[in-house]
Amino acid sequence: MKTNEWQLQKHKNLKLLALWTIGWMLSMALITFGPVYLWNDGKILTLSAFVLNLGLGIGMIISNRNYINGADELEKKMTFDAMAIALGVGVIGGLSYSALEKSSLININADISYLVMLIAITYLIAIVAGKLRYK
């Protein structure tokens, strides 16, 4: 079976998304640990790391959009379903946690990263569920 242009473009989009994501993650580590371990709170370097992180983040968003636009219609449906579930769980989970914390029913100090992890894990589970559903 010959690989056609559409598949090549899809693989290219996936590789670009992976590269932008890895770059963004590395820049996230740089801005998180750099001021403490690398340049001792230098403002210029911290600002530079922030600009780099922001730029790579924007690149990752555009790359993700390109990847979704290049996917076929079933893959798009699975992605949109997973995004809808992940967004819903993130909003409901985040607001429920906030309400419980304000009413002092729970006393766990949650960081924004927990919400990001919740959304990411929900998204992954929803993608796998979608793959199994249309298998």
């Binding site: 079976m1 010959k2 056609n4 559409w6 598949q7 076929d72 219609e73 079933l74 893959e75 449906k77 793959k131 559903r133 249309y134 298998k135």
Partner: protein
């Protein structure tokens, strides 16, 4: 929505991957359409119609 994609594919002696490649979708999409789990877009329906040289009504049957 019922369809005759599997029958037509067999008549043309094609694998799911061959047909998927021809109409520029994934093999999983063809499989899901054949099993009735996924209804294709109008564009994909036209592509299949053109590929098999059949009208859309000859391939797909709308039913509740």
């Amino acid at each position: 929505m019922k369809n005759r994609v599997k029958v037509l594919r067999a008549e043309h002696n094609l694998t799911q991957a061959d047909l998927a490649n021809a109409v520029e979708v994934s093999r999983q999409t063809i499989n899901a359409i054949e099993k009735g789990k996924f209804d294709p877009s109008l564009i994909l329906a036209f592509k299949l119609s053109e590929y098999f040289s059949k009208s859309i009504e000859e391939i797909f049957e709308y039913g509740k």
